[in-house]
Subunit: 141 residues, 2 copies
Amino acid sequence: MKTSIEHIRDKISKKGLKVTPQRICILEAIYDLDNHPTADNITEYIRETHPNIATGTVYKVLETLVENNLIKKVKTDRDIMRYDGIIEAHHHLYCSECDLIEDYMDHELDELLKDYFKKKKFPGFKLEDIVVQIRGTFDKC
Amino acid sequence: MKTSIEHIRDKISKKGLKVTPQRICILEAIYDLDNHPTADNITEYIRETHPNIATGTVYKVLETLVENNLIKKVKTDRDIMRYDGIIEAHHHLYCSECDLIEDYMDHELDELLKDYFKKKKFPGFKLEDIVVQIRGTFDKC
DNA sequence: GTATGTGCAAACTTTTTGCACTTCG
DNA sequence: CGAAGTGCAAAAAGTTTGCACATAC
């Protein structure tokens, strides 16, 4: 079995991108930092072990990873972009009290929505993707 | 029947807020600019008729209106906040090609989701609100 | 070797803040 | 009149850019 880092190298390489230390550790950081980190969270985390990474590089790498579908951007109410290492379609639970965003996978819900929108046509609109945002409060918050 | 402006004054007044010209015209601007305007769109629009409004004021007023549930913030993939004059629960169609966001009201969908999540409990999470983001491409774009 | 990627610092955009002045009720 | 709201300008926060240098392949 491959190590985690080798998996990451593979993922980057398969997209035809150069495998650089910066790209490896940024992708690794997103997988490690599981609460949908901001660019700043990622930069801080990486600097612990890799102090020379530049802010600009982090943003450039994140943009490249998003374009190549290795990570996703997550919309929030705030004006800060957050990133998600899970690229399979999934939904999110947003906490009203704090900035926690929890992943929510629900295949049954996906089927339900797919069926619903199959009969419900939008004239002049080609449907690509449906994301459900579930807002509420976690007891722990 | 009341004029539109009187309606707007009423809405502000009913929240216990002072009815100022700035608040009136910002709320009016959001109703007029129907594609979920940014703070900047709103400022520009208002300055046509009311050149002295300050950027800071626009942000402060928008924040007040959001807090008092007279408007809503709309999440986007970009890092710009947009505002929505419709406060009733509704969903959005997002265009992948441009920055168009169209309102989508669908009571049947709301019922479907309400029923679905009634049986589907989230332990440790109090559900407040569900918003469906429908991404796709408009033919016109 | 060469195309691609990175570091750095400066610039840019969007949003927030503090405080004196003004206005609504 | 007094509490609440606004204007202004400065600063903060987040992100982008340009270019010389470095590196993966």
